[in-house]
C-alpha cells in the first residue's frame, strides 16, 4: 500500500466523528467493549489486555458545530470539554462503555464529574498518575491506581485479566512505540518526504484503530516512504510544543509547514510516546508499567518537574536531537497548564539561544493567515540570522 492510500484512510478516520472504525471493531464480535480516554496519558495496555479497544477522544475538531456543549462551559474555558460533551450528547459516543479522564488539568478532571452526572450508564474513571517519582511512593500508588482500573474493566467484561494478558499487550504496545519512534526519527532525516500532517494523521489513526492494525499501518507507511521523493525545500526546522490536549485544526498544522517550516518534533499526541523507553516484557506487568512511568515519562505542563536544572531539558534535547532551529509554542486559548509552562520553557530556550515564538489557537480556529504569517516571518528571520 502506498503512503497516499494510507494517509487517505487516516484522513477519513480523522474526519469521522462517529468513530465508525471503532464501532465496526466492536460490532465484529459479541462481547467486545470500547473504552474512551481523554488526552494525555493512560496505560492503554490495560484496556487492551482486558480485550477492549482504547479509543482516544480529542474533542470535536473544526468540523463539528457545538450547540449543547456551550451550555456546559463558560466562554473563558477552553473548547475541548464542550465539544467532547457535545460528542456524547449527540450520540456519537453511544457505543463507548467506559471513559477515562487522565490527570492533566482541572478542566479534564472536572469533566470526569460532568460525565458522572450526565452519562450515568458509562463507567467513568479519573485516572490519577503520581507526581512523585519515587518507585516506593509514587510507583506503589500508581500500581494501585492501575489495579483499580483493571477491577473496573473486569466489571464491564466479566473476565479476569491475567499477568500474561498484560505482558502480551505490553509487547504489542512496545512495537507500536518503536514504530512511532522510528517514524519520528525518519522525519528528522527527511522532513520533506514525511510531512507533519501525515505524521499527525497516522498518530490520530492510532487513537481509533486497534494497536495490531495500527502496527501494520505504521509498518506499511514506513516501508512505502522510500517510494516517493518529494521536492526538498529550504525550510526552517522547528519543534512544536504546547498542543498535547486540545488539538489544532489540521489546516493549522498544514499552514505551519506551508509557511516555510519543517516540523521535526511535536507534542500533538502523547499517549503513544509518553513512555520514552520500552516497557519490560517479563515479570510483573503492572510493576513494569509503573517502573517505566516513573523512570521514562515525558515531561509536559501536566507534570511536576522536581528539579529546576531539568526544567525544559526534554525540550532542549528535542531541539538538539532533531536539529531544529527554533521552537513554535502553540497553546489552546485558556489552557492554564500550557500557558503557565510556556514562560519557563521560553527562558530555558533563550538561555540556550534557541529562537522561539508563541501563539494561541482553538480547535475550531478558522483564520490561518495570521498564524501563517507569524510562522513565516519566524522561519525567514531564522534563515536570515543563522
Amino acid at each position: 500500500m502506498g503512503t497516499q492510500e494510507i494517509i487517505e484512510r487516516c484522513e477519513a478516520i480523522h474526519e469521522d466523528l462517529n468513530f465508525t472504525a471503532a464501532r465496526d471493531w466492536k460490532a465484529a464480535e459479541p462481547g467486545r467493549h470500547v473504552i474512551g480516554h481523554l488526552p494525555i496519558y493512560v496505560p492503554r495496555e490495560l484496556i487492551h489486555a482486558a480485550g477492549m479497544l482504547p479509543l482516544g477522544i480529542y474533542g470535536g475538531g473544526d468540523q463539528m458545530e457545538v450547540i449543547q456543549g456551550d451550555a456546559f462551559y463558560q466562554s473563558y474555558i477552553c473548547r475541548i470539554p464542550r465539544s467532547t460533551i457535545e460528542l456524547a450528547l449527540t450520540g456519537r459516543l453511544d457505543f463507548v462503555e467506559g471513559m477515562l479522564f487522565p490527570s492533566i488539568c482541572d478542566v479534564i478532571r472536572n469533566l470526569s464529574g460532568v460525565w458522572k452526572l450526565t452519562q450515568k450508564d458509562t463507567y467513568v474513571r479519573y485516572m490519577d498518575v503520581p507526581q512523585n517519582y519515587d518507585k516506593e511512593i509514587g510507583g506503589r500508588f500508581y500500581i494501585r491506581e492501575m489495579q483499580e482500573l483493571l477491577e473496573g474493566l473486569e466489571g464491564i467484561s466479566g473476565r479476569k485479566v491475567t499477568n500474561e494478558d498484560l505482558l502480551a499487550s505490553i509487547k504489542l504496545f512496545n512495537v507500536n512505540r518503536r514504530l512511532i519512534n522510528q517514524l519520528y526519527a525518519m522525519r528528522i532525516e527527511q522532513p520533506w518526504n514525511i510531512p507533519v500532517t501525515e505524521v499527525y494523521l497516522l498518530m490520530r489513526a492510532g487513537q481509533v484503530l486497534p494497536v495490531e492494525e495500527h502496527n501494520v499501518m505504521m509498518t506499511d507507511y514506513i516501508a512505502a516512504i522510500g517510494d516517493v521523493e518529494r521536492p526538498q525545500k529550504d525550510n526552517t526546522k522547528v519543534v512544536m510544543n504546547g498542543m498535547f490536549c486540545e488539538q489544532p485544526p489540521l489546516n493549522l498544522i498544514r499552514s505551519i509547514e506551508l509557511s516555510g517550516c519543517y516540523v521535526v518534533d511535536d507534542d500533538f499526541i502523547l499517549v503513544n510516546r509518553w513512555l520514552r523507553e520500552d516497557v519490560k516484557e517479563e515479570g510483573d506487568a503492572l510493576k513494569n508499567l509503573s517502573d517505566c512511568f516513573i523512570d521514562h515519562s515525558t515531561r509536559t505542563s501536566a507534570t511536576y518537574e522536581p528539579s529546576e536544572e531539568l526544567k525544559g531539558a526534554q525540550l532542549v534535547e528535542a531541539v538538539r536531537k532533531s536539529g531544529a532551529e527554533g521552537v513554535i509554542f502553540a497553546a489552546p486559548s485558556f489552557c492554564d497548564p500550557a500557558l503557565l509552562e510556556r514562560p519557563m520553557l521560553q527562558d530555558v530556550l533563550d538561555a540556550n539561544n534557541i529562537p522561539n515564538i508563541a501563539f494561541k489557537y482553538a480547535e475550531n480556529t478558522g483564520q490561518m493567515q495570521p498564524i501563517r504569517e507569524q510562522a513565516g516571518t519566524f522561519a525567514d528571520s531564522i534563515k536570515l540570522w543563522s
Binding site: A71, F72, Y73, Q74, Y76, I77, P81, F101, S103, I104, C105, D106, V107, R109, N110, L111, S112, G113, V114, K116, L117, T118, R125, Y126, M127, D128, P130, Q131, N132, D134, E136, I137, G138, R140, F141, R144, E145, E148, S301, A302, Y304, E305, P306, E308, K311, A331, S333, F334, C335, D336, P337, L339, L340, E341, R342, P343, M344, Q346, D347, K360
Partner: protein, 434 residues
C-alpha cells in the same frame, strides 16, 4: 441595609469591625512582621505554602515562618494593588488567560515582594507545594522556584475522582509526608521532627475547628447571625492559614463564638461593613470564590437587598469541617492526609453538587448563586451543570455572576448588580407562586 435599598454605593464610611476581627488583624500583622524580620535579620527560615491542603501544624513543628501567597494576593487585592501586579506579570510574559492569583503573586514579587503590610517579605527558603484541588498550584511554585532557585518539596494529593478517600490515597500522602516533606522541612530548618509537638498542634486545631463549625452552622437560624461568604472569609481566615493549631487561633474562635452567640441571643443578623443587618429578606447559598478587588461594593449589593449568604463552598477550600473531619492528634499524619484529601475543590463534581444541594435544604435557603471566576478552572469548569442539577433537584432558583478574584478588569459593577437584581426578582416570583 434593606431599608436603604436603592441607596447609591457609598464606600466612604468606616468599616465596622468586631473584636474578633481586630484580633485576627493583629494575628495577620504579627505574621507579616515575622516575615519582614526574617528578611531583615535572617533569623527565621521561611516556608511558602498554599491554603488548600496546608500543613500548618506540621510546618510549625520546625520553628519556621509560613507565607501564604494566596493570602498576600487577596490582601493586596483589597488594597487595590493587584491590578498593577497582574499587569506586571503579563508584561513579563504571563498570558492574559491564566489564573490571576498566580499573576498577582508574580507581579508582587517582580515589584520587590512588598507584602500587604508594606514591608518586604522574606524570600523563601523552602517552597512547600501541596496542590490540593488545583493543578495551577503546581505550576505556580514551579514559576516561583524558577525565580528564587530555592529548595522545593511537593506533596501530591490525589483527587477524589470517585467521591471517596481510599486507603491507597491516604497511604500515598502519608508516605510522601514521611519520606519527602518532613525531611525537607528538617533540612531547611535544622530542627528534628517531633511527633508529639505535631500532636499538640493538632489537638489545638481540633478545638478551633469545633468552634468554626459551630459558627458556620449558626446560619441555620433565622435570621442568620452570620454571613457565610463575605463574613465567612474572616471566619475561616485563621484556620485556613498560618494560625491553625495555635492557642491564638483557638482564642480567636472563642471570641468569635461569643460575638455570634450574643447576636443569636438578641435575634440579630450578621455584621456588615455598615453595621448589623436589620432585615433578612433572602437566604442564599453561594458557590465559588470571592471577588476581592471590589469586595465591599460586591457585599453591599447583597446587604442592601437584605440578602444573606447562609452557606458557601468557598469557606471549605481550606478545610471541610462541617462534614465531620477534625485534625486528630491520635492519628497525626493520617489526619493531615485526610485533611488535604477532603478540601472542597478536591471533591468531584457530584460530591460538590450534593454538598450544595444539602446546604440549600439544611440551611433553608431561597436559592443558589454562583460567582464564577474567569481565571479559575478548578472552580469554574462544570459550574453551569452544577447549577442546572441543583435547580432540578431542589426546585429553587439559581443564578450566575462572573467576576475575578484579584483582577479588577473583570469586575463589572453594573453587570453584577443587574444580574443580582433580576435574581432577587426571580426568588420573589418563586415565593409568590408558592
Amino acid at each position: 441595609m434593606t431599608t436603604e435599598k436603592k441607596a447609591p454605593v457609598d464606600l466612604s464610611k468606616d468599616v465596622q469591625k468586631d473584636a474578633s476581627q481586630l484580633l485576627q488583624k493583629e494575628m495577620i500583622r504579627g505574621n507579616y512582621e515575622r516575615l519582614a524580620q526574617a528578611e531583615e535579620n535572617h533569623k527565621e527560615k521561611v516556608v511558602y505554602t498554599f491554603v488548600p491542603g496546608n500543613l500548618n501544624e506540621l510546618v510549625m513543628c520546625f520553628d519556621v515562618v509560613g507565607n501564604y501567597p494566596e493570602i498576600n494576593a487577596l490582601q493586596s487585592a483589597m488594597q487595590k494593588k493587584t491590578g498593577a501586579y497582574v499587569m506586571e506579570a503579563e508584561r513579563a510574559g504571563q498570558d492574559e488567560d491564566v489564573c490571576t492569583y498566580v499573576k498577582a503573586d508574580l507581579g508582587m514579587m517582580r515589584k520587590g515582594n512588598i507584602g500587604p503590610a508594606g514591608k518586604k517579605l522574606a524570600d523563601p527558603d523552602l517552597l512547600l507545594l501541596s496542590y490540593t484541588g488545583c493543578f495551577t498550584f503546581m505550576k505556580w511554585f514551579e514559576l516561583l522556584r524558577h525565580e528564587y532557585k530555592c529548595d522545593t518539596t511537593m506533596l501530591h494529593v490525589p483527587y477524589q475522582g470517585d467521591g471517596e478517600i481510599t486507603q491507597s490515597m491516604r497511604d500515598y500522602v502519608v508516605k510522601q509526608l514521611k519520606e519527602e516533606v518532613i525531611p525537607a522541612l528538617e533540612r531547611t530548618s535544622g530542627v528534628k521532627f517531633d511527633i508529639d509537638r505535631l500532636r499538640e498542634h493538632l489537638r489545638e486545631s481540633a478545638k478551633a475547628e469545633d468552634k468554626l463549625v459551630q459558627v458556620l452552622e449558626s446560619a441555620k437560624l433565622k435570621p442568620s447571625p452570620i454571613d457565610s461568604y463575605f463574613g465567612g472569609l474572616y471566619y475561616v481566615g485563621p484556620t485556613f492559614s498560618a494560625f491553625r493549631g495555635t492557642p491564638e487561633c483557638t482564642a480567636y474562635y472563642d471570641a468569635l463564638w461569643d460575638e455570634v452567640n450574643e447576636r443569636i441571643q438578641k435575634g440579630q443578623g450578621p455584621v456588615t461593613p455598615e453595621g448589623v443587618m436589620t432585615e433578612e429578606k433572602y437566604r442564599l447559598v453561594v458557590e465559588g470564590p470571592l471577588n476581592y478587588t471590589h469586595m465591599r461594593e460586591f457585599w453591599k449589593m447583597f446587604y442592601d437587598e437584605g440578602a444573606v449568604v447562609v452557606a458557601s463552598s468557598y469557606t471549605k477550600v481550606g478545610g471541610n469541617y462541617e462534614q465531620g473531619f477534625r485534625h486528630d492528634p491520635d492519628n497525626p499524619l493520617e489526619s493531615l492526609a485526610d485533611y488535604c484529601l477532603g478540601c472542597y475543590t478536591n471533591l468531584n463534581l457530584p460530591s460538590r453538587t450534593k454538598m450544595l444541594e444539602n446546604y440549600l435544604n439544611d440551611y433553608e435557603a431561597d436559592g443558589l448563586l454562583i460567582n464564577s471566576i474567569k481565571s479559575c478552572n478548578s472552580f469554574s469548569a462544570g459550574q453551569l451543570l452544577m447549577m442546572n442539577e441543583i435547580e432540578k433537584r431542589t426546585g429553587k432558583p439559581a443564578a450566575f455572576v462572573e467576576t475575578d478574584l484579584v483582577d479588577p478588569r473583570y469586575f463589572s459593577p453594573s453587570n453584577v448588580k443587574n444580574r443580582l437584581e433580576s435574581y432577587f426578582q426571580m426568588v420573589d416570583q418563586k415565593r409568590s407562586a408558592a
